[in-house]
């Protein structure tokens, strides 16, 4: 609300301002008590806020409920059985002896389901991003068009990005599954780009809400040639940023609870791009 400078210069004015805020709460819409205001969900710029109560978002379906119960209890049973085998369902000897772990690879249409492709089209931009399998179904191709024209919503000033992000895997009852990469020290990626620099981001599990946008990033420079490129990035090189801002207080990435990884690119003009990759993890 608009406040004059004179009001803020006197203690009485400031107290009066707070008293007005307390005595006249905004009751026009229940944003104070909504989940969005508590957890700060993403609101697409230019769109009106979602003011529904949480129970208004529920769609009850009995058959889906039965399917859900079967699915979740099945996953729970697999977890119990996997626990007898070893950590993360693999024998401990494998965990101790392995030098390389192939975390993601593209071997068929079902491997594309592990990834989410997005671009600034979600916020009203004009970039496009698509994902398809490459030749022989052994690689994936991320391609599309980047356009840096910002959407006309009055809020967004910059635009023109695309991203390929791994989906958050879930355990039984929708618990997050974290990757334990603590025995590894390097991220290895085999790819073929178009000469554009990309950014590799890794997100670890955070507890506090003010850390939920914390991402560890590093750059990936592609050569653009017809030859495949292999890059090894030590995890110690990743720097901490939050909502795109590099943090002064840098911490190392804790590898025992990694949630997802993604690669993203940005352009300053309208250009086509393509990025073909196979992803590996190596120590």
């Amino acid at each position: 609300m608009a406040v004059s400078r004179v009001t803020l210069q006197t203690p009485a004015g400031v107290c009066g301002l707070f008293r007005r805020q307390l005595l006249q709460p905004s009751l026009s819409h229940p944003t104070i008590l909504s989940t969005r205001s508590i957890y700060g969900e993403y609101k697409r710029p230019g769109q009106p806020p979602d003011k529904r109560w949480p129970w208004e978002k529920i769609r009850f379906d009995f058959s889906k409920g039965v399917e859900g119960i079967q699915k979740h209890f099945g996953l729970l049973k697999d977890e119990f059985v996997g626990r007898l085998r070893g950590p993360e369902g693999r024998p401990l000897l494998d965990h101790m002896l392995e030098q390389t772990l192939v975390q993601w690879e593209f071997r068929g249409p079902e491997s594309l389901d592990q990834w989410v492709v997005s671009s600034d089209k979600e916020i009203g931009g004009q970039s496009e991003a698509y994902l398809k399998l490459g030749k022989n179904n052994t690689t994936c191709m991320l391609y599309g068009t980047l356009c840096s024209v910002p959407p006309r919503d009055g809020e967004t000033r910059y635009s023109g990005y695309c991203t390929l992000r791994s989906k958050q895997t879930l355990l039984s009852f929708d618990r997050k599954r974290h990757f334990d990469w603590s025995t590894f020290n390097t991220l290895y990626i085999r790819f073929r780009g178009d000469g554009r620099p990309w950014m590799i981001n890794i997100s670890a599990e955070m507890y506090f809400s003010h850390n939920k946008n914390d991402i560890y990033s590093y750059f990936l420079y592609t050569r653009g040639g017809p030859y495949w490129q292999e890059v090894k990035i030590p995890f110690s090189k990743f720097f901490l940023s939050s909502r795109g801002r590099i943090q002064d207080d840098q911490h190392c990435l804790w590898l025992d609870k990694v949630c997802w990884t993604n690669s993203s690119a940005k352009s300053h003009s309208r250009k086509e791009y393509h990025f073909e990759n196979i992803a590996n993890l190596r120590m």
Partner: protein
């Protein structure tokens, strides 16, 4: 952190625990518990890492809830029984609530799930303090009210702690989480015998503290927090790793190490009390724990894992950081089984 602050926090830790030990009134005991909780929080958060802050916050929430529950139980007892004395807690509802609160503070099952997550976010020295010193004050209170508590509840607490901790620690690769589950399991052994022989329970706690101290100090010297790092630490100090195998087997309760004392005497007491089923169940749970301790020992030094160097030992400078506490704790962990008759006599003295 400046040394004066370290002194202040450690002194507060000692003061809080001593205050609880010396209390006969519930309010002063509660004050002592709160003092220890608040004193350790800056030590946990000193590294300013998000995981350390997370561990500190979780620890504060859990301990504050537990102490609040304890205070509620004592106020309930004071209102009903008209007594604030710790030894005169008779109201069954207050007793059950107090026992749940103390179980939450100690990390006994089924209130143990916070402990591995908190330990994982701490450095090894603070983890050691959390596993050892922070158990003393709540255990002292538990001992004082144990005689009035329903025996079945204590047995269930002990059995579930030993079993769930064994199951939980089975496939951990992080050493701090393994030690957290070890803490819960050993406290389970202490609690199950508390109703019959408080002295024996105290002895079990004391031996556990010695073994944990030896384990943590060795891990700190090796700067190891994962099994994989541990498996390649043999070249830093082969002697310490050989001792570490024996410390781990002592934690598992194998003779002829000191850790066998706990298993032996507790099982003997349980069988004397005709509690054959709980004795069988708890020893089966101990077998699962022994499995992962033995596996850890195997990976520590018996197997040679792929490393980056072909040299058998590192070129080591003289280690000027060696303290006397590690040899004392290691000796106590490995060689005190022959003194078992003496420790048993001391427990009878307490009873």
């Amino acid at each position: 952190m400046p040394a004066i602050l370290y002194f202040m926090f450690y002194a507060s830790l000692g003061l809080g625990t001593s205050l609880t030990f010396l209390s006969s009134h519930w309010l002063t005991a509660w004050m002592g518990l709160e003092l220890t909780t608040l004193a350790i929080l800056p030590l946990m958060a000193q590294h300013h890492h998000p995981r350390a802050s997370e561990a500190t916050t979780k620890y504060l929430l859990v301990q504050a809830s537990a102490t609040g529950m304890l205070l509620f139980a004592t106020i309930l007892n004071g209102w009903v029984e008209m007594s604030w004395s710790i030894n005169e807690m008779k109201n069954p509802y207050a007793l059950t609530l107090a026992m749940s609160a103390l179980a939450l503070k100690l990390g006994l099952a089924p209130f143990h799930l916070w402990l591995p997550e908190v330990m994982q976010g701490l450095d090894l020295l603070t983890g050691l303090i959390l596993s050892t010193w922070q158990k003393l004050a709540p255990f002292a209170l538990l001992m004082q009210i144990s005689q009035a508590m329903p025996p079945t509840l204590l047995t269930i607490l002990g059995l579930s702690s030993a079993t769930l901790a064994a199951w939980g620690g089975l496939n951990q690769t992080q050493l701090r989480k393994i030690m957290a589950y070890s803490s819960t399991a050993h406290l389970g052994w202490s609690v199950i015998i508390l109703q019959f022989s408080p002295g024996l329970a105290l002895m079990a706690l004391g031996i556990y503290i010695m073994m944990t101290m030896a384990a943590f100090l060795t891990m700190k010297d090796m700067s190891s927090t994962k099994i994989s790092t541990f498996s390649t630490s043999w070249s830093k100090s082969p002697e310490k790793m050989v001792a570490m195998i024996l410390i781990l087997l002592s934690l598992g309760g194998l003779p002829p190490m000191t850790g066998f004392t706990i298993k032996w005497l507790v099982l003997e007491e349980l069988t004397k009390q005709d509690m054959y089923t709980p004795a069988t169940l708890i020893v089966m749970a101990a077998l699962i724990s022994l499995y992962f301790y033995a596996r850890l020992s195997y990976f520590t030094i018996i197997s040679l894992f792929p490393g980056t160097t072909s040299i058998k030992t590192y070129w080591r400078q003289k280690n000027i950081k060696d303290k006397l506490i590690l040899p004392i704790a290691t000796t106590a962990t490995l060689f005190l089984l022959p003194l078992m008759p003496l420790t048993l006599a001391l427990t009878y003295f307490y009873n």
